[in-house]
């Protein structure tokens, strides 16, 4: 059970407003992802919720109780750190059991819970090892195990996968998603990886400079970004932004087209361009092109496309999927 | 049970005493002894700090003839009035006794006493055809040193104290100064290093030791010279009379049977040409165990203690110089060929009249004023610098004069 509500939460370090004021509602059992560029305050916000930092102003309600003056342990939340923050001198077992020991649970209960968590996370064989003798993915799991056993109202994850290599990341991503489906506990997850955000979240919170830019389901953010910032931030490769005459012709300050929404042709189309670099990935091809009168653009084509540098191509944006923004960057609804 | 904490210096006689204390504790089962044995300089600094701050950590202190009169006058020491009937205070050498008394009360009991004399290598003298007739002068000594000096064969003409310190080189140089008619202070307490007497004395010292002494003389004190002499590297050695028993002890000395003894050299006078020193046991006024402490002192400085030592280690090893009766003891005179010379030296050293010209201070090789330690050390350093050739004799004397003058002035003598 963990519904979390932030009411006008503010945080300043010295005289820098890191979080100028955030309101946010997180429902019980939801998987919420905070994304945003580096330094935008994702970690700070998470740490405010955890109680590792004091808020400068505002309320943090967990299950409708204001927890602003409670110590981290009392808030009933668990946190998984980017660096895992495992206790290097304890075995996996003790790492997982530590929180329970601190809570003064009886030995038998601890043992049961630890073994249970280890079972869920496939760690049973490693309980007697120290973190130093584990692989990156296993360490990650121990960190999660430590969070699980305490039966928290919510899990807080601060970029838990960013230290893992690409393929492991994919696996752990799936594991965490699976875990969420199994436990149905509220999870707040910080990342700056869009793939993670898109694939894991029930709800994405896009932050910029300590401000919430947009909150919504991943597909909503992808399909209907509220502004240029969100549009550029969600989706990879990045959305192409076209300004100037092309935009003016469409009654806006800027037109946005995702690389995957550009129809590619070697014969004709709306925008003529020259290929600079073609990246052939087998299943798809990224073309980095220089569009006449517009400048650099990226095109994403499915499958193998037999193009290379200096070829001429024509691009046609899918008119259904064009995004238009006004001068201050806000989306203009179609 | 009473515990006595005793501060002693780490010389052979004191250490021997520590080993013999069973005799005392058997007789006084209610007294236990706690020894604090320290090297001389450290000891002095420890006991002085203790007594001056009235800290009362020691019940018995080993102090020199320098401290005794100063401390007695300040009332820091408990008078020794109950040494017992058979103690025989009058047997103590008069010169020593007077040095340890104030207003006719004895404030410290001498454990052993020494003067200075010359030890020389009879075999080398013989080889060089030198004979000693009467008391030598420093000029003659210089000649002899020159003749004996043979560094190629590891023999140096003369060994003297060169290590800076008021109890080290200054003890010797002061007696040389006395012999040349110099004194530390004139009647107005003004230092006198600018006089010709000191210049003569220091020049002789630098000359003889610098030219015919062993290398490293500036760091040689009593111990180092003893090692050198025992190893057969010195033709002559002028130092404490207590050394006599060591250099004649075949266990430690390579030249035990080749040592001759004679008085320390004179120059213009023989007055003050040999020093007087005694290590004494005293009770600080702050001690709470005065009675037990006095008992111990009586035991350690008694005639029977001498006999105890004799019975254990032989007569040659008894602490010398304190009791006249010892020098009438045939057994001692037999065992200690140097006894007569020692007695003569101690007898002739008078702390009151030790300079040619009158002086305001007590002490042969020191001035019994609180400032002397510091002054002696600084001057000693200047003189050892002169010996090392770092400064000229004139320069050293000028520096000594200046710094002594400053100190006396600061201390308010004038």
């Amino acid at each position: 059970m963990g519904a979390i509500r932030l009411e006008n939460v503010k945080k300043t370090f010295g005289n820098i407003d890191v979080i100028p004021g955030v309101d946010l509602e997180i429902n019980d059992g939801e998987f919420v992802v905070f994304v945003g560029p580096s330094g935008c305050g994702k970690s700070t916000l998470l740490r405010l919720i955890a109680g590792l930092e004091d808020v400068t102003a505002g309320k943090i309600l967990i299950n409708d109780v204001d927890m602003v003056n409670e110590s981290p342990a009392k808030r009933g939340l668990s946190m998984v750190f980017q660096s895992y923050a495992l206790y290097p001198h304890m075995t996996v077992y003790n790492n997982i059991a530590f929180g329970l020991k601190m809570a003064g649970e009886p030995k038998a209960v601890i043992d049961e819970k630890v073994r249970n968590a280890a079972g869920i996370l496939n760690l049973t064989d490693y309980l007697e090892r120290r973190p130093g003798a584990l692989s990156g993915g296993q360490r990650q799991r121990v960190a999660i195990g430590r969070a699980i056993v305490r039966n928290p109202a919510a899990f807080l994850f601060d970029e838990p996968l960013s230290n893992l290599d690409a393929s492991l990341r994919v696996n752990m991503r799936l594991e965490i998603t699976g875990l969420h489906q199994e436990l149905k506990t509220t999870m707040i997850y910080v990342t700056h990886d869009q793939v993670e955000a898109m694939t894991m979240a029930d709800k994405i919170v896009v932050l910029q400079a300590g401000r919430v830019e947009q909150v919504g389901k991943p597909m909503d953010l992808y399909a209907k970004p509220a502004n240029k910032f969100v549009a550029g931030f969600i989706g990879s490769p990045k959305m192409n932004f076209i300004e100037g005459d092309y935009a003016r012709a469409r009654n806006c300050a800027c037109v946005g087209v995702r690389p995957e929404h550009l129809l590619l042709s070697t014969e004709q189309g709306e925008i003529a361009a020259t290929v600079k670099i073609a990246e052939h990935l087998g299943a798809e091809t990224y073309l980095h092109v220089n569009a006449d009168n517009i400048g650099p653009m990226t095109v994403r084509a499915t499958g193998e496309v037999p193009l290379s540098g200096n070829d001429r191509v024509w691009l046609t944006p899918d008119p259904e999927r064009i995004h238009r923004f006004d001068a201050s960057g806000n989306a203009i609804s179609n | 049970e009473t515990k006595l904490t005793i501060a002693t210096v780490n010389n052979g006689d004191m250490i021997r005493m520590q080993k013999l204390t069973d005799d005392f504790t058997k007789k006084n089962p209610d007294i236990s002894l706690e020894w604090v044995t320290l090297e001389e300089n450290t000891l002095r600094q420890r006991v002085t700090t203790d007594i001056a701050t009235n800290s009362g950590q020691y019940d018995i202190m080993t102090i020199g003839t320098y401290e005794a009169p100063i401390w007695a006058k300040k009332g820091w020491l408990a008078p020794l009035e109950n040494l017992g009937a058979d103690y025989d205070v009058d047997d103590i050498m008069p010169s020593i006794r007077s040095a340890l008394s104030n207003d006719d009360k004895l404030y410290a009991a001498p454990f052993y006493a020494e003067s200075s004399m010359m030890m020389y290598r009879k075999d080398l003298f013989e080889k060089a055809g030198i004979e000693i007739n009467g008391r030598l002068t420093w000029d003659q000594t210089l000649d002899i040193a020159k003749k004996l000096n043979d560094p190629a064969n590891g023999v140096y003409g003369i060994c003297l104290r060169g290590k800076a310190g008021w109890g080290e080189n200054m003890a010797l140089i002061s007696t040389m100064g006395n012999a040349y008619g110099a004194r530390w202070f004139d009647e107005e307490w003004k230092p006198e290093f600018n006089g010709q007497e000191w210049k003569d004395a220091l020049s002789m010292y630098v000359d003889i030791l610098g030219k015919y002494g062993p290398p490293g003389a500036t760091s040689n004190g009593f111990n180092e010279n003893l090692s050198l002499f025992n190893a057969g590297k010195c033709g002559m050695w002028i130092d404490a009379t207590v050394a006599a028993s060591f250099v004649t002890n075949p266990k430690d000395s390579k030249v035990a049977d080749k040592v001759g003894f004679t008085e320390a050299p004179c120059a213009v006078t023989c007055t003050g040409a040999n020093w007087l020193w005694a290590w004494n046991l005293a009770i600080p006024a702050s001690s709470k165990n005065t009675e037990a402490a006095e008992k111990f002192i009586a035991w350690a400085t008694s005639k029977s203690y001498l006999e105890l030592v004799a019975s254990k280690d032989g007569w040659a090893n008894v602490p010398p110089g304190t009791r006249m009766s010892l020098y009438q003891n045939e057994k001692y005179l037999d065992a200690a060929p140097f006894a007569i010379k020692t007695l003569a030296a101690i007898d002739s050293a008078d702390p009151i009249n030790s300079t040619l010209k009158p002086k305001p201070y007590v002490g042969v090789q020191f001035a019994a004023i609180p400032e002397f330690q510091g002054i002696g050390t600084v001057v000693g350093q200047q003189f050892s610098a002169a010996l090392a050739g770092q400064v000229t004799v004139d320069q050293a004397l000028a520096n000594a004069q200046e710094s002594t003058d400053r100190t006396m002035q600061k201390a308010g003598y004038y």
């Binding site: - | 490293g216 610098a385 600061k410």
Partner: protein, 290 residues
């Protein structure tokens, strides 16, 4: 972790040490400052009187003061140079594969465990004695005149002893620093065509600068008050050639029992030490993120 609770805990937990050290500093310092304005000889208790700056005047106009100041600086400086250079060389040496490196390292760091007093006694008597010391034997075997260390090179002798004592400390710190040098960096330099010497001067030495700073800081703190070695061997002489500030203050305090003068000297020493400290802090501020 900057919650109010933890900030408060931080204050509370650093307070005992800070207060203890503050008292340890301020009580004696206060008393010393007070004494420094008195005519106060330990041997004349009860005769203390206020004499203003006389003690300072005497201390500062004493030519012994300047001599000892110079000696202090020479001593500290030379030992620093010797230990840092020696430490780097030994560190480089021990950083290579050697048969029995563990034992060798034990041998090299052993001097650090030796009491200064013992150190001085051993060097003075067993090694540097010009007649029967070990060095004298080496000189004579080589057909040379034995060096009369404590007469002709007393300060050098002290410097050697002290440097020997502190060499392991420098070696240890520099060795650890050497071992932390990124292998890639050395290899990059190799690819860039740098030889061993260039690698040392362009890569290794700059990498060590931080460690060198630490060595200098810690050693300076201890070297400013070198005492036992002088006390045991030369007693500050001959002349003033081995008297450093600490020893000079000692002669005032425990030979002349001039507490007033010694206190003034102590205060002067504190001021000088703090000048050195400011100097070091500059050095560190640049090099050390303490």
């Amino acid at each position: 972790m900057s919650t109010r609770a933890s900030t408060l805990a931080g204050r509370v937990m650093s307070a005992p040490s800070i207060i203890a050290l503050f008292l340890w500093m301020i009580v004696p310092l206060g008393m010393t400052i007070y004494f420094s304005f008195l005519r106060y000889n330990l041997l004349s208790p009860g005769m203390e009187e206020w004499i203003g700056f006389v003690n300072y005047k005497f201390f500062l106009t004493d030519h012994a003061f300047f001599a000892s100041l110079a000696n202090t600086l020479i001593l500290v400086g030379s030992v620093l140079v010797m230990t840092v250079i020696g430490g780097i060389l030994l560190g480089l040496m021990l950083d290579q594969p050697i048969f029995g490196r563990g034992i060798l390292r034990i041998l090299v760091i052993s001097p650090f465990f030796i009491m200064p007093t013992v150190n001085a006694l051993v060097w003075k008597n067993l090694l540097m004695n010009p007649v029967s010391g070990f060095f004298a034997w080496i000189s004579t075997s080589l057909g040379l005149q034995p060096i009369d260390w404590f007469t002709h090179a007393p300060l050098t002798a002290i410097i050697i002893m002290v440097a020997w004592q502190w060499l392991p400390f420098a070696t240890l710190i520099l060795l650890t620093a050497l071992q932390s040098l990124d292998r890639d960096q050395k290899e990059a330099a190799q690819m860039d065509g740098a030889g061993p010497v260039s690698i040392f001067f362009y890569i290794t030495l700059p990498h060590l600068s931080r460690a060198i700073t630490v060595v200098i800081l810690i050693e300076t703190i201890f070297l400013l008050s070198v005492f036992a070695e002088i006390f045991v061997t030369t007693g500050g002489g001959p002349g003033l050639s081995t008297t450093n500030i600490a020893f000079l203050v000692y002669t005032q305090a425990l030979l002349q029992y001039d507490v007033g003068g010694a206190s003034a000297g102590g205060i002067v020493a504190v001021i000088l030490a703090n000048i050195v400290a400011i100097f070091l802090v500059r050095l560190i501020g640049k090099n050390l993120d303490a």
